[in-house]
């Protein structure tokens, strides 16, 4: 606790344990171990994407692609409908003797709306699924954790994981990280 800010009167509860690594290999092994131990409410924190970590953690494949695909389809339909309704139905007018509605002329706009909808859904979907923005998080209370965006790797196990046991979990983590585990607390 010495490296955590404590303002007087702050009611705190244990959020979970935080184990620190400085080698990719150790992290991967550790992750696999935690996974095999059956923990569910835990996470690994790395400054960059580490290949194989998903497998090592057993992260499920995200549904994002389906979201984006749906949004894309919506975009296409919206694009076509917009052009058809405005130019051929609501206020039809004769332009250069051309037909009121002809797909070829509507492809560019429909295409762009497709991309637009899909792209926006990709970012927004990603953030939503990740529960971001979340400016405050108990982990940010740990000083060591600041290196998670720099050069160190972490594994955190939340206190409200069904398998969480103050001592057993600590041992597990210390065994894989080979160093002291930090207790992260949360204010209420």
């Amino acid at each position: 606790m010495e490296n955590q800010t404590m303002t007087a009167g702050d009611e705190t509860v244990l959020y979970g344990y935080l184990a620190e690594f400085d080698k990719v290999d150790d992290l991967l092994v550790g992750a696999a171990t935690v996974r095999d131990a059956g923990y569910t409410k835990w996470d690994a924190h790395t400054p960059f994407v580490i290949h194989g970590l998903d497998a090592a953690m057993g992260v499920k494949k995200t549904i994002l692609p389906y979201v984006v695909f749906g949004a894309g389809l919506t975009g296409t339909t919206a694009g076509i409908l917009l052009q058809w309704w405005t130019n051929a139905i609501d206020y039809p007018y004769l332009i250069s003797g051309k037909p009121l509605f002809s797909l070829p002329a509507n492809i560019p706009v429909a295409f762009e709306t497709t991309i637009l909808f899909a792209a926006i859904s990709a970012l927004v979907g990603m953030l939503a699924l990740n529960g971001l923005p979340r400016l405050y998080h108990p982990l940010f209370r740990s000083r060591a954790f600041k290196r998670a965006t720099d050069d160190h790797f972490f594994i955190s196990i939340e206190a409200d994981d069904p398998l969480f046991d103050a001592d057993a979990t600590r041992e597990l983590l210390e065994s894989i990280s080979g160093r002291k585990v930090e207790e992260v607390e949360d204010v209420v």
Binding site: V24, D25, L28, A31, A32, R35, D43, A44, H45, T46, P47, F48, V49, I50, H51, G52, L53, A55, A56, M57, G58, V59, T62, P65, G72, L82, Q83, T86, D90, Y91, I95, S96, A105, P108, V109, F111, E112, T113, I115, L116, A118, A119, I120, A122, G125, L127, L129, N130, L132, P133, R134, L135, Y136, H137, F140, F145, A148, T149, D150, D151
Partner: protein
């Protein structure tokens, strides 16, 4: 780590192509932290370098010129430009196409090279994306101000109104509105999303409360959770997959502005590929033009290596040749089609009143890139820089030739004319550079101009160096059989 050196060249040079050895994307002895230090260091600099201030002073005053010109234009009328009948489009549209073109390299590098697994992109993509955004900002200005009644420009958007009128979706200009609008949005998303983890790094190194809150807010509370990384990677992949056709579509649509018309010199089917190639060409030229001084200024030679520059030189060579091919194809078609108007238009381009512009274009875009055939020359930073500047000039003239020379002499000889830009035209154009560089300078000073997270990802340390593992990086072994929860 310098043991992987294949030859005796200086440790900063990784341009050698020895198939036996994977050339390093980052040179010098850098661990993850060193990268963080280098990149965040620029943002955290206690005092800004003089050079930056000088550059900023110049570019911001040019920006003021731009706004002054626009103000004058709006209060007085399009007549302050050199336009006339027959030449209804001049500098404004030329600049628009020019800037949009520049705005292509960024997305191309980030998206297409990403899909092609060109990992060397990581050092320059952030930079290029930023450039894209700013170029598109500059581009966006021109179609806006070139209309006669700017205060009614919103009629180009399908907004419900008391007139019950809608825009005409048959017009390429409307396609433009959607294409450029979408492109700007998507590039912005792409750029910002890629930046989130790096903003978090800056946040976590913050030594003042203000900086913590600003970067903390921008990084949306990124806590580098691997579960987040997983979706992040996916979103990034999807965006890349979406941006790739988009980037190709944008300049195609821009080219439709011309191709869909019936003007000789405009009405041609090769415009889309021709424009896209040109866009990539000019885009890379601009990246190189900017990146060379920047990397000097902030000592990034180890991250933005000579190899990066060389690769870009090669791409410029390739696209330059494509553009050259397009030029000759146009002439061939003009002759082969047997269309007298078409034939005359091209004869007129090369030898008519605008021949000077045409030959500047050919020299800069076709002749100059030929120097990249020679490894010595393309690896000489100075030559590379000069060449890329010339290419930018050439590409501007390409648009000038297409827009102006075609319009100035069309079907009826009685309505032939000649277009002369006014001082206002020129100053507006120069001013747009001011805006571009102003934004750019702000970017390199306050935002991470290199994708740290991505660069770290391609460093050797990022992968298993345990003996006995094949491939590189991916962890096999006792994870293999484990079933996934």
């Amino acid at each position: 780590m310098s043991t992987t050196h294949s030859d005796t060249r200086s440790y900063l040079d990784n341009t050698g192509d020895n198939p036996a050895v994977r050339a390093r994307l980052v040179v010098g002895d850098n661990d993850f932290h060193a990268i963080t230090e280098k990149v965040c260091g620029i943002v955290e600099m206690p005092k800004t370098p003089k050079m930056w201030w000088v550059a900023f002073a110049i570019s911001s005053s040019l920006t003021l010129v731009l706004f002054a010109m626009i103000g004058y234009l709006i209060t007085t009328g399009i007549g302050v430009w050199g336009l006339n009948v027959p030449v209804g489009w001049g500098y404004a549209i030329v600049n628009f196409v020019f800037w949009v073109g520049i705005g292509h390299a960024g997305t191309l590098i980030s998206a297409i090279l990403f899909l092609l697994r060109q990992r060397w992109r990581t050092s320059i993509n952030r930079f290029a994306e930023a450039m894209t955004i700013f170029a598109v900002v500059c581009a966006g200005i021109f179609p806006g101000i070139h209309v006669g009644r700017i205060w009614f420009a919103y009629w180009l958007f399908p907004i419900p109104n008391q007139m019950l009128m809608w825009p005409n979706f048959r017009s390429p200009l409307l396609w433009d509105v959607f294409a450029v609008g979408t492109y700007a949005t998507v590039s912005l998303l792409f750029w910002y999303m890629g930046m989130i983890p790096d903003l978090a790094s800056i946040r976590d190194r913050a030594t003042t409360r203000l900086r913590y809150y600003i970067y903390g807010f921008l990084s949306l509370g990124w806590r580098s959770s691997n579960r987040h990384w997983h979706r992040f990677e996916f979103a990034y992949l999807l965006l890349a997959a979406l941006a790739t056709p988009l980037v190709l579509s944008v300049h195609s649509v821009v080219s439709f502005d011309f191709a869909v018309s019936i003007m000789p010199g405009w009405h041609t089917t090769i415009f889309p590929p021709y424009f896209v190639a040109g866009a990539i060409f000019s885009g890379f030229a601009m990246v190189v033009t900017l990146i060379i001084p920047t990397r000097k200024l902030f000592h990034l030679e180890e991250i933005i290596t000579k190899r990066h520059l060389e690769n870009m030189a090669k791409i410029m060579l390739a696209t330059g040749m494509m553009v050259g091919l397009a030029y000759s194809t146009e002439f061939f078609m003009a002759w082969y089609s047997g269309n007298q108007y078409e034939a005359f238009t091209f004869l007129n381009r090369a030898f008519g009143p605008y021949a000077w512009a045409y030959w500047i274009m050919v020299t800069c875009n076709v002749v100059v890139p030929q120097v990249f055939w020679f490894s010595k020359l393309r690896n000489n930073t100075l030559i590379l820089w000069i060449a890329s500047v010339l290419i930018n000039v050439g590409m501007w003239f390409e648009r000038f030739v297409i827009v102006v020379s075609s319009l100035s002499r069309d079907y009826l000889p009685s309505s032939w004319g000649y277009y002369r830009p006014t001082a206002i035209d020129v100053l507006t154009f120069v001013g747009s550079f001011g805006l571009f560089f102003t934004l750019f300078l702000l970017f390199i000073r306050f935002l991470p101009l290199i994708g740290m997270a991505e660069v770290k990802g391609v460093m050797p340390q990022a992968h298993l160096d345990r003996p006995g593992h094949k491939g590189h990086g991916d962890y096999h072994g006792d994870i293999a059989g484990a079933e996934v929860v």
